[in-house]
Chain length 244, copies 2
């Protein structure tokens, strides 16, 4: 018999090859699985809500895994944080029903992307430095076109294998922090591979005047990733939370 | 003939041995001097407003140096940032009068110290994780005793050589950010070696109930560093700005 355990994870993606375990390099999944093996002396498979690419951060990634039903869950948070290096922090551990899957039970995911217009030493690992002026009103106008249920093939990496390209976007908007830092919030039921970074890169082209809002709409409905702007760099992207 | 140039510097102290050039390891002063040598093909001595220890960050360190009067200052900001690795960013370059000294002309310096009560992966390099409950009202009560002109020998590292221990503290208070992060702001005309970190360590002892406000006052006036709490770790400390 086993218990199904759900955890919430914060990580600094800088030094990881990404969420998913890979033959070479540190992965978030791999680090957590290695810690679980030390605690339970057996191989435990950790299922994340989704993969994040190398360099992408998370404030609220969710995952689940099964542990022996005799195991004590109370000390698991502390044990995991004690074993894992400090660029991963587990913030919550709870027993959930057996059929819960961090991947398939997720109803909504929220990502944020941070842009600084002034070069910064202290935040260089956590936002994209865009030196030119950006028209936030135009970027928000274009972003609003994404809201609703659409085919997002345009914003999916060409090599990504997926059954379909449909996604329902609940929110997509730019805000400005009091420090002047910009951030893009996007909430959707499903994200395709590379979707947020391709959207951000294309919206930045709107903001700097390279692409009009009308052109952005045409690109969006072209179903062809070759029409997008550059993919925004990984280090500005944060998986904020997963809603179940 | 030379021109006196003042610069404002932001740096992530994590990977530095500190501000001051040392035989081994990267220093902020050393990196800037190396870049200036590349630009002007001569050794240029950079004077900072003061030293910061290894691991201490700066948002607004100030420094000055002399360049040939024939040199063009307009491109210096860009040239310096182009040559220096991205954990140092120069934010301002201006020609100042010959007698200006970043060290001796400074009237006031402001430091901030950040504490998080929740373990964090993303901010682990920029704040001290203090797991136990802290009584902010008591910490502020104790901090208020520091304001004014006093002898701060208690909060000076024993090995530091200095003519006298007098400092005028204009402000010393704790605030709480909306995220729950605490920060201590202290402004003074002069800081002794290790002063902010010794004060913060001792105030945290007040906050957790190890030391009463009355005991804090006694420690402050004991002129003996052996009575203080632990020195708070370097990575929570930021030199915010220098006023001239």
């Amino acid at each position: 018999m086993t218990k199904n355990v759900k955890i919430i994870i914060e990580y600094d993606g800088t030094d990881f090859v990404g969420w998913q375990r890979q033959p070479n390099g540190r992965s978030v999944q791999g680090e957590i699985e290695d810690a679980l093996r030390q605690i339970f002396s057996e191989k435990i498979n950790v299922v994340g809500s989704g993969r994040t690419d190398s360099g992408v951060h998370a404030r609220g990634q969710a995952a689940n895994f099964f542990i022996p039903s005799s195991a004590d869950v109370n000390d698991l948070l502390r044990s995991l944080n004690g074993l894992i290096f400090d660029d991963i922090v587990i913030h919550d551990v709870q027993v959930v029903e057996e059929k819960f899957s961090a991947r398939y039970s997720a109803k909504e995911r929220e990502y944020r992307y941070f842009i600084t217009q002034m070069q910064t030493a202290l935040e260089r690992r956590y936002c994209w430095h865009v030196g030119y002026q950006l028209d936030i009103a135009k970027m928000n106008d274009a972003a609003s076109k994404l809201i609703g249920s659409h085919d997002f093939q345009t914003f999916c990496r060409a090599e990504a294998a997926t059954e379909h390209y449909l996604s329902s976007v609940f929110d997509a908007r730019w805000d400005v922090e009091s420090t002047g830092k910009l951030f893009f919030t996007i909430r959707a039921n499903r994200f395709l591979h590379g979707m947020v970074r391709l959207i951000v890169g294309t919206l930045v082209d709107v903001g700097r005047g390279f692409t009009s809002v009308e052109e952005f709409e045409k690109i969006f409905h072209s179903h062809d990733v070759r029409n997008t702007g550059q993919s925004a760099p990984a280090h500005g992207l944060f998986l904020e939370r997963v809603v179940y």
